[in-house]
């Protein structure tokens, strides 16, 4: 049982990390709030389904198009909504949340509800690791999560675009004087975040069905991981998702499943009270407490 819990804990953590990454890039790293994140996740999933099933397009192509469309949605959101309220965080949060709400419930209205809405897995079959059966898709998820984390870390620390993202969040005026077009990079960061949400959706949704409720859960989970790990820190996301992922899996296997969420919530509250900026954030100690 222990070994199985360890393996599935890792898988759960990878899922959480994958979910959090897109949210982190926009909110944590670039300082732009995108609370329509869960909606974009679901949107990408449904879009891929539509391309595949209603239009008969090849699956790989459907996936690529839907990721691309999500990125476009991200840019549109920035241009039409965020641009007008940039800097007013509460307004950004509520406006994007309102839009996300509208998108998700629109799918529900058009009856995108039911068990027939699933995406095919990339790899069929499973492998036995020390007596525990793990399907290839889940292993694929772990690999993607690791790969993306590495990529994002290098991206935000070593590429011009990545560094610009961090610049506009930390000190926008200075970034502007250095010739960094804050609006361009803000839009790009939203596009990236949306794209990452789509990637996460494509890889994770095959494990179950595409459900509108999933959108809400994704948002809360992503937020939780980012808070515990520290907004903006890629390493933090990794550690936080491991912590929360394992806490959830252990609780599900050794206690009862409905205690799972309570454990995560307690973990969040505890971290916030003890070290508010998260475990690995870049915020200075002085700015946390008054």
């Amino acid at each position: 049982m222990l070994f199985g819990t360890l393996i599935y804990g890792l898988i759960n953590s990878s899922i959480l990390a994958l979910l959090a990454m897109g949210f982190n890039i926009t909110f944590g790293i670039s300082g732009v709030a995108n609370f329509a994140y869960g909606a974009i996740y679901i949107f990408a999933g449904f879009l891929a389904w539509i391309f595949l099933n209603s239009l008969g397009i090849n699956y790989l192509l459907s996936v690529v198009i839907s990721i691309f469309c999500s990125m476009v949605v991200g840019i549109l959101m920035y241009q039409l909504i965020i641009l007008r309220i940039r800097g007013l965080i509460m307004s950004e949060v509520l406006a994007t949340f309102g839009l996300g709400l509208a998108i998700m419930e629109l799918f529900r209205y058009f009856d995108f509800v039911g068990f027939r809405y699933t995406l095919p897995v990339f790899f069929d079959g499973s492998i036995s690791l020390g007596g525990v059966y793990v399907d290839y898709q889940r292993l694929f998820i772990v690999l993607i999560a690791l790969g993306l984390t590495l990529f994002l870390y290098l991206f935000t620390h070593h590429t011009k675009i990545g560094l610009s993202f961090r610049a506009i969040a930390q000190e926008e005026r200075t970034a502007l004087t250095l010739g960094i077009n804050s609006d361009l990079y803000g839009a790009l960061s939203m596009a990236f975040g949306a794209g990452l949400a789509a990637v996460a959706a494509i890889v994770i949704l095959p494990l179950g069905t595409i459900a509108v409720e999933g959108g809400y859960e994704v948002l809360i989970n992503a937020l939780a991981v980012c808070i515990v790990g520290g907004l903006g820190s890629t390493v933090g996301i990794l550690i936080a998702s491991l912590l929360i992922g394992y806490a959830q899996t252990f609780t599900a296997n050794y206690l009862e499943p409905h205690w799972m969420i309570l454990v995560s919530l307690i973990a969040i509250a505890a971290v916030l009270i003890i070290k508010p900026s998260g475990l690995f954030s870049h915020q200075k100690e002085l700015e946390e407490r008054i």
């Binding site: 509520l94 919530l265 509250a269 916030l272 008054i290």
Partner: protein
């Protein structure tokens, strides 16, 4: 010749400052009419609504109280994503007092208000020292925690909650109790924020180190503000319990957390009247849209989004500006 827009206070505003308002009836009316509208509008019109609309009205008033409570916290720099905590705690206290000991609403309401205020303040005390955004996140998490705790431990009625509680003697009593509470909160908080005490609170929001530097213990002031806000929120919860004759897990629902914030953003943060107006727009709107089924939330979300983008300062700020000032085009001076 280039022109620019200039905004100046209206003559009548300047004439009605301070004691000069007593000069003539025009000035007095200028000051009284905005205050009279909510008072007369609420107290005067509500008894004539149909039973269905009276229920909506009461529900709106409850949300308005939560929105005003939220606004008080934001005036001090505390962003609360957990108004549902206040509602839930107030709801359970009143419910438990009524269910286990048979206390009537007359007693449960005050006890739940003060007790709820104290309890919530104690829960949130450790987080008061954190910066705004962290306070916000913890307030989001704590009500969800309580929800799961009640579900898991099955205390206080567990998932079914406490049912069969007492209601108010008449619908009219309920109507007037909530309205008087709402008006008291509205005018009371506005008065507080208009005084020097309110100035200190605004200062804490603006620049807390500077207030610390003035020899003022900001944590004590924040605690007081938290108590006031949570007491009002707990009252809303206690009142709602007796209206629904039920206290349970839905008291901690996200709806009670999100709606007040939306109302405040739509109506205008920091003004107390704004959140109230926001609630009186959003709640009936949500009710009217119910006929559309699932499409209702779609419209709701879009409404919220468009409003925030088009009028980020909020309705009340806009109305206030138009009422007190006028704009005109002037030539740009050389």
């Amino acid at each position: 010749m280039k022109k620019r827009k200039e905004r100046i206070d209206r003559g009548i505003k300047a004439r009605s400052e301070d004691i000069f308002a007593l000069c003539s009836f025009r000035e007095m009316l200028y000051l009284l009419v905005p205050r009279a509208i909510p008072v007369l509008g609420l107290l005067g019109l509500s008894p004539f609504l149909s039973a269905y609309w009276q229920e909506i009205f009461i529900s709106t008033a409850i949300y308005a109280l939560l929105a005003i409570s939220w606004d008080m916290l934001i005036s001090c720099g505390l962003v609360s994503l957990g108004q549902s905590l206040f509602y839930g705690i107030g709801s359970y206290i009143a419910g438990a007092l009524n269910y286990y000991w048979g206390w009537p609403p007359l007693l449960t309401l005050p006890v739940a208000t003060i007790g709820g205020g104290l309890l919530c303040t104690v829960f949130l005390l450790p987080v008061l020292r954190l910066r705004g955004i962290y306070f916000a996140m913890v307030t989001l998490v704590i009500p969800l925690m309580f929800l799961r705790l009640v579900e898991a431990t099955r205390i206080l009625g567990g998932t079914e909650g406490l049912t069969g509680l007492d209601s108010f003697p008449t619908q009219l009593t309920a109507l007037y109790v909530i309205q008087l509470a709402l008006l008291a909160a509205l005018f009371g908080f506005r008065r507080i924020m208009g005084s020097d005490y309110g100035l200190v609170i605004t200062g804490i929001n603006d620049n807390d180190r500077s207030v610390m530097n003035a020899g003022i213990n900001i944590h004590w002031y924040k605690t007081q503000v938290l108590f006031l806000a949570s007491a009002v929120g707990s009252f809303a919860g206690a009142f709602g319990t007796h209206i629904d004759m039920f206290a349970g897990m839905p008291g901690f629902a996200l709806d009670y957390a999100i709606m007040p914030i939306a109302a405040a953003v739509v109506g205008g943060m920091g003004t107390f009247a704004g959140p109230m107006i926001g609630a009186f727009i959003l709640v009936p709107l949500s009710e009217i849209l119910r006929a559309l089924g699932a499409l209702r939330i779609v419209f709701y979300g879009l409404f919220l989004m468009i409003f925030i983008v088009a009028l980020p300062e909020g309705l009340f700020h806009y109305i206030q500006r138009k009422y007190h000032q006028f704009e005109r085009w002037v030539e740009v001076e050389k």
